[in-house]
Symmetry: C2
Subunit: 358 residues, 2 copies
Amino acid sequence: MGYTVAVVGATGAVGTRMIKMLEESTLPIDKVRLLSSARSAGKVLQYKEQDIEVELTTEDSFEGVDIALFSAGGSVSAKFAPYAVKSGAVVVDNTSHFRQNPDVPLVVPEVNAHALEAHNGIIACPNCSTIQMMVALEPVRQKWGLERIIVSTYQAVSGAGQSAINETERELRDVLNDGVNPRDVKADILPSGGDKKHYPIAFNALPQIDVFTDNDYTYEEMKMTNETKKIMEDDSIAVSATCVRIPVLSAHSESVYIETKEVAPIEEVKAAIAAFPGAVLEDDVANQVYPQAVNAVGSRDTFVGRIRKDLDAEKGIHMWIVSDNLLKGAAWNSVQIAETLHERGLVRPTADLKFELK
Amino acid sequence: MGYTVAVVGATGAVGTRMIKMLEESTLPIDKVRLLSSARSAGKVLQYKEQDIEVELTTEDSFEGVDIALFSAGGSVSAKFAPYAVKSGAVVVDNTSHFRQNPDVPLVVPEVNAHALEAHNGIIACPNCSTIQMMVALEPVRQKWGLERIIVSTYQAVSGAGQSAINETERELRDVLNDGVNPRDVKADILPSGGDKKHYPIAFNALPQIDVFTDNDYTYEEMKMTNETKKIMEDDSIAVSATCVRIPVLSAHSESVYIETKEVAPIEEVKAAIAAFPGAVLEDDVANQVYPQAVNAVGSRDTFVGRIRKDLDAEKGIHMWIVSDNLLKGAAWNSVQIAETLHERGLVRPTADLKFELK
């Protein structure tokens, strides 16, 4: 009676958290299958105290799978997600590969669950830095409209995977325990595994996440711009981002400036955010209460504070938004999409395959 | 023939760097005197390989002193700077105490050295986060005007003194070597020694520097607003800041958005910044060249990169500004003010004492 759920990229930083989110999920699950690349196939992971062997991902892996959660990199999704759909599964893809595809809904369930109705077998989970910003800003957009967003991020290294976490800890030990000068620390992964040069993150702030595009913004920054417009279904919202990696292991923080279409009284903004599902207001500066990365780790919620008027712009508001990038930013938002598909009766095979089999 | 220079707060994170900057200075110096509180008096520090004993600061400490550099906290400056002026010294004060006093010039030498001409014995050195932003933005203001600034900072812990550096290193060791959960790490100093609650900075980002004011901005944030207007001598420039502490020991980074009065072509903006004294252009994203905190430590310069057009606002520009908060942000800017006073023949006793003796 329940679903067979596959996790592709099961051994990664996000994949392991997807397994945990499935364990705690309201989804009726009969069976969980764990898939990976050849490098990790054969490992044994636990799901609800059962040992499950990780299988190699192939074109035939998705027979009998109802829901497939992908988080193994864009190239893996590009290759295998269409086969999963062809096999009758619904795919929730946590990579950027399908996000701007017009046949693929890009969904933060609290914001645009309705977009799931028109799915064609693949639903994309937005970028971590976008998701938490959407949860905080959607209640404001609904009541007062959104004219523009300027965001500077303070992103955790776990967004670049387990190897980036390991690199950060090793670099910090090199400095603290072995006295290496932070500028001389050896780096192999950050700022972006796919780029040519690598720089230390220990005691540093790196204004590069993902590689640069032709307009001198990074892909990470352009994801925030393009995904916001798609999720909020409004291309007129102006969004410019500066995405920065800092030496935090998990939970992204964001300094966000917005201009609303109508003047929004601050106390009403706070109340609207506090009432929005998935958002938690932490804003009492007289008692030094504001969101902090270390407190957000492990929570599915998005924490919002430091909400205040711009000192000059009548419709300008600043805020500080923090969430666990591996949970709401990835694993939880993906499982939450699956739960929402189930609640709406949308977990079903797709007859008309819109995605190319490679 | 040379000056007697006193350093008040000589044993602190800034004071020790003031001594180093004096060693490398072009100022004609006959004698250096090191002053401190009772806690540090009697310690011996070196100036040009000479041992100098640190003396207790008293009302009579400044007899024979020509230039007194203060960096021992606002209350020490409030109490002793007027006595230094009364004794015939010129004071360069690195605390916030006198910065908004209309009788006190607030100076970044590259930007408003002319303001020194009207000094009354005390010159204020701006806040670290303001100084580096001024060096980067003044060449833009001169050519295209400045309408507004929105800044989010990534500030190093050394801005809160040597004890905050020690606390950060201890917290990181607690997590890395002893397995303490980052949220459970003990904190005694940050975010602000003067506030009630203290939070971990290891693997965290704290959106509080200094204490909160009545408008829900922190004093640190309001310093950036008020000091920018005073240094640029234009109250119409709109400035709103979000000041954030991150686990970096030295060098502040800043994500800065500006709107100019006239449209500023990006290549001309880069050229103007590159040509401005004290500013270094590090902007070649195709080769992953941008300013980094770890590389800025130890330099007197302000590094500017990631300069790019806003995606929507015709007059909007984003940039990334990095400088050593203990040098250009404090010790070097103070010694540079002293050098500029000397070059302009402004190191001289002040007859008409404008500051209250307490």
